[in-house]
């Protein structure tokens, strides 16, 4: 596949000079413009339900974002539709402009928040069908993540096995703020299905649960919501390892998406240390927790953790201990988009930069299967 993502970026260079083909973007968000975009992919039963009830879509965000739909102000399509709803515009503004080789689409429709189980399942299936027709057929650089209703793991597993037959799907996507941590046995059918079809599970920033979003309750501001999302990612890592998920499913791969990464080294230190004294609670573990983490997890870069001293970025990578652990992401079309030519500090050069910008994701997602 294409190599050499970045030369030495200079302010005077054009984008084309700063970025060459090969970049892989592991986090892009498509949205239906309205519920009517999904109606072709829903049964008459649910279309009648939508029409009669006036259902416009799942409940919205718990915290008003810095910008409407958390979108980049310049990412609203000229056709007047919602941000992230026009694949042609997204292709031009993201794929073409930044020479993106592959981009992983992670829908965040919010169907998990719909309490009618059957409707939630139907909406997840509709999102998958809509994305196949409107996005994956639009350009072969798009790759899909399978939407599921995670709180109904048996139904989720069925959807995974059905949709994964399309090789353009490279991942199963769930959001990080669940009502119970994902290592619990009730969720294992999802991981079993993921292993059966050979796809990783992506755990993404966001909420389907009704729990307070921090361990200390409800904060006041989106600033706290956004910054504090790392707490939920930590909880999921602790759960998946402690519950023995990787002993039960040794082929399982997990991507932590939009959750930061600088917090991982101290979590591993703390986890390993406590494991030494409390290992009898989890006797199925046969290795240090950090060993499971480093083997089974990968993390995406956006929103980039930006230490004031760029050298500290390299130190964090050194503490993580794997140069194949981070995968570049933009989070297009959201307001905190990370630019492919500027997001990584300039101290990240050569092979390491190429790995983060493309090779790590290529190895993790195996795009060439399609």
């Amino acid at each position: 596949m294409a190599q050499a993502v970045i030369t030495d970026p200079k302010e005077t260079d054009t984008v084309e000079e700063r970025v060459t083909s090969g970049t892989i973007d592991t986090d892009v968000h498509p949205y239906p413009n309205t519920i009517t975009d999904l109606t072709p992919f829903l049964s008459s039963r649910w279309n009648q339900y939508i029409e009669q009830s006036g259902f416009k879509g799942p409940p919205g965000t718990q915290y008003p974002k810095g910008y409407e739909m958390a979108g980049r102000r310049d990412a609203w399509p000229p056709n007047g539709q919602r941000v992230g709803s026009d694949p042609d515009f997204a292709r031009q503004q993201l794929l073409d402009h930044w020479n993106i080789r592959y981009a992983v689409l992670n829908p965040l429709y919010g169907h998990e928040k719909v309490h009618n189980d059957d409707f939630s399942i139907a909406l997840a299936s509709a999102i998958n069908a809509w994305m196949s027709a409107m996005w994956l057929d639009n350009d072969d650089r798009w790759r899909g993540s399978i939407s599921v209703t995670a709180n109904l793991p048996e139904a989720a597993a069925e959807e995974i096995r059905r949709v994964a037959k399309d090789p353009r799907y490279v991942q199963i996507i769930v959001t990080v703020r669940s009502e119970s941590p994902y290592g619990k046995r009730v969720f294992h059918p999802i991981f079993e299905a993921a292993c059966d079809v050979g796809l990783p599970v992506g755990i993404h920033f966001g909420t389907w649960g009704n729990n307070p979003i921090t361990a200390a309750g409800w904060p006041s501001y989106y600033l706290e919501d956004h910054t504090g999302m790392t707490q939920a990612f930590e909880a999921q890592v602790l759960s998946l390892v402690s519950e023995g998920v990787f002993e039960k499913f040794p082929d399982l791969k997990i991507a932590l998406i939009e959750g930061g990464f600088a917090w991982l080294p101290p979590l591993m230190w703390r986890f390993d240390k406590n494991y030494k004294g409390l290992r009898e609670e989890v006797p199925w573990l046969r290795r240090l927790p950090s060993e499971y983490i480093l083997e089974h997890f990968r993390m995406t870069t956006q929103p980039m953790d930006e230490p004031p001293n760029p050298q500290h970025f390299l130190q964090i990578l050194d503490m993580i201990g794997r140069d194949d652990f981070l995968m570049f992401a933009t989070d297009y079309p959201h307001w905190d988009f990370d630019a492919p030519d500027r997001a990584l500090p300039s101290v990240v050069r050569g092979d390491l930069r190429t790995k983060i910008m493309s090779e790590n994701a290529a190895a993790f997602y195996e795009f060439e299967r399609a």
Partner: protein, 121 residues
């Protein structure tokens, strides 16, 4: 009793299953009487220096599959530190955690004429 062996007390002084601290020439040891055998290890945890004699003797657990309840291995005993819970194999002194180099010094110990003898060489 050989010249390197030290008499640290009557075997009845060491309650079965409970770690006891003794000192030999200024060196602190843990004596552990498990009924059919006597163990002796250095009384300092290699982690943060706690007295292992303040810890507990317990059986290891064995599990066959994720989510199943572990079984007590009654004959496979470990010494667990009171501070952070690190556990050490009584025969080798090695910490149970895989790939951990931590180790507590072990000594040969035996019972002769109802006395506990520890070899400090």
């Amino acid at each position: 009793m050989s010249s390197s062996e030290h008499d640290v007390g009557a075997v009845t002084d060491f309650q079965v299953g409970r770690p006891h601290r003794v000192e030999i020439d200024g060196r602190a040891l843990v004596i552990l009487n498990v009924g059919d055998r006597i163990y002796a290890v250095r009384d300092i945890c290699p982690h943060q220096g706690a007295r292992l004699s303040d810890g507990q003797c317990k059986s290891r657990l064995r599990v066959t599959a994720v989510g199943t309840q572990p079984e007590i291995q009654a004959d496979d005993l470990v010494l667990q530190c009171a501070w952070h819970g690190w556990m050490f194999d009584l025969d080798t002194g090695r910490a149970l955690t895989e790939n951990d180099s931590a180790r507590v010094r072990t000594y040969s110990a035996r019972v002769q004429d109802s006395r506990v003898l520890v070899d400090t060489t």
